[in-house]
Every structure is written in C-alpha cells, then in structure tokens.
C-alpha cells in the first residue's frame, strides 16, 4: 500500500476528477456534521425550556 499521488496538489486534482470527488467529500462531511450538531442543539434547547419552566414555577411559588 502506497500513496497514489506524487504530491498533495495531485491529490487535489486527481487527473481532472478532483472537483467531483472533493465536492462529494465536502458535501458528505457537511451533512454528517449537521446530523450531529442538530440533535445536540435540540437537546440543549429542550433542557433550557425545562430550566425556564422550573424557574418560573419556583418564582410564582415564592410570590404566593
């Protein structure tokens, strides 16, 4: 097993197929990144909502 390209420039160009291959790689990575970030952001938002509910409840109890 050896590196198939003479240098990093060749790896980017890939004999003219570079734009196709690298677009596929970048779009795939972007979509996969979104699949991780989205649920993490949703979880955070859900926890924030619960915290706000608890705070509201404690405040209203305190006033009463």
């Amino acid at each position: 097993m050896s590196f198939q390209f003479e240098n990093l420039g060749q790896l980017l160009v890939m004999d003219g197929h570079g734009p196709f291959v690298w677009t596929a790689v970048l779009v795939s990575l972007a979509v996969m990144f979104w699949l991780i970030i989205k649920p993490l952001a949703d979880s955070k938002a859900a926890q924030k909502n619960v915290a706000r509910d608890i705070a509201r409840l404690t405040n209203s109890n305190g006033e009463a």
């Binding site: 198939q4 197929h17 779009v27 979509v31 619960v50």
Partner: protein, 256 residues
C-alpha cells in the same frame, strides 16, 4: 398474572428498553466510545480510500466517490428497516420510546438518502456523462427519499402526537415494499447503474486493496448512524418527557 412476573428476565429487559429514562442514561454512557470509534473508522477509511487505494482501471480517480456513496446508500436502506421496525413495535406494543426512535430515524435516513443520490449524481457525470438518469435504481432511491420525508411530514401533520405516530408508522411499514425493489432494481431492469459490488452470498467483485477501505467506511457509517440515532432520540426524549421528574432532576443537576 403471576406467570408474567415469574417469566421475567426477557420481559424485564423489554420493559427497561421501553423506558425513555433507561435509554437516555445507557446511551449517555455509550456515546463517547461510539463517537470515538466512528471518528477513527471514518477518518482511517477516508484517508485510505482517497489517497492510498489504487485507482480504478476504467473509471480512474472518480471511482473514489464509492467510499462515500456505497456506505451512505447502505445506511439509507438499513435505516429504513430500523424506522419501519420501530414503527411496528410502536403500533403493536404502544411503546412510546419506539415511536421516538422511528421519528428520529426519519431525518437521518432522509439525509443519508440525499447523500447517496448526490454522490451518485456527481459520480455519474464523469462516468455516465450525465448527473441524472431516470433509471430503476436511481428512481427507487428517490422514492425512498420521499418516503422518509413523508414520515417526517406526517409527524407534524396532526395535533396529537399519538395520531401522528400511528400515521407515520403505517406509512413507514407500507413503504418497506420499496426496499427489495431498490435492491433488485439492478437485476430486474436494464440500468446504467452497476450491479452490487458487495453481496453477502459471494466474494466482492473488487480488488482487496480497494475493498478493505470500503469495509472500514461501511463500519464507520454504521457507528456514525448509531451515534446520530442516539442523539436525535435523546433530544426527542427530553422534549416529550419535559414534565417528568427525572428530566427536571437531570436539568437541575446539570446546572450545579
């Protein structure tokens, strides 16, 4: 009902699995390791496939798209089974966690099906001379994307969660008829799409030097899928169980 409690090991397991709290805590312990494994496999497979695997005799370097296209397609299909089975369990045993898994599988499956179609289109241009053909494999994958989007849309089409869940589950189950069509499309119809590279029943039609990184990528995608499904389901659990004591305790505990 004594027999039910006596015959407990398997049922206890089943009921524990049905508990959102148990799922949340257990997956929380697994997630760091699974994420690490997914990251290691995906980065190894990608560097290996893009830089070190030999180029294809006919297709040249464009064939390297296979290292994303095939794993994404694999999981787009496997993810549909997971969604449909979760929907069936929800319908039969009224298990709410199961519905949450079904709902979570929909956006992930849609994203992976999109990736399969997108990487396929990009691969098609230098290989077939066109980004898109209305051939059997490509069209049946497009239908898969619409099925995923349909399940997702039905979740939001009803006022009650229960009605949305049941409608989604039924659509997911009906849609499974499309899966064998996708698998067999390259055999049943004349198509531009090449036949399956990997079959369980025979040796891969690829040189081992090309096949090994593909295998690493497929394993990496399986781990990645599991991580994503856990994360989406955990977010859904927090949303739906927001009034339960354990979620409140969890949030309070996290604030200290």
């Amino acid at each position: 009902m004594n027999w039910l409690t006596n015959w407990s090991p398997s049922w206890q397991w089943f009921h524990r699995l049905g508990s959102p709290r148990w799922f949340y805590q257990t997956t929380g312990r697994w997630l760091p390791w699974l994420s690490l494994l997914a990251l290691a496999l995906l980065s190894t497979g990608l560097v290996w496939g893009l830089g070190f695997a030999p180029q294809d005799a006919k297709q040249g370097n464009s064939f390297r798209i296979i290292y994303l296209h095939v794993p994404a397609s694999f999981l787009a299909l496997a993810g549909y089974y997971i969604m449909a089975i979760a929907g069936a369990i929800g319908l039969i045993w009224k298990m709410k966690l199961s519905y949450m898994v079904m709902k979570s599988a929909a956006p992930i499956g849609a994203a992976l099906t999109f990736l399969a179609l997108f990487t396929g289109a990009i691969w098609g241009k230098p290989t077939w001379g066109t980004y898109w053909v209305w051939d059997a494999r490509v069209t049946s994958m497009l239908i898969l994307l619409f099925l995923y989007l349909g399940v997702l849309a039905l979740q939001y089409a009803f006022h009650s969660n229960e009605a949305g869940n049941r409608a989604s589950a039924i659509l997911a189950l009906v849609g499974t008829v499309n899966i064998p069509i996708i698998y067999k499309s390259v055999d049943w119809w004349y198509t531009l799409h090449q036949p399956a590279t990997i079959k369980l029943t025979s040796a891969p039609s690829m040189h081992p030097d090309m096949f090994q990184p593909l295998l690493v990528m497929i394993l990496g995608f399986y781990c990645f899928y599991t991580v994503a499904l856990f994360l989406f389901t955990r977010a859904e659990i927090l949303r739906r169980e927001r009034n339960s004591t354990w979620v409140k305790e969890l949030v309070m505990g996290g604030q200290h």
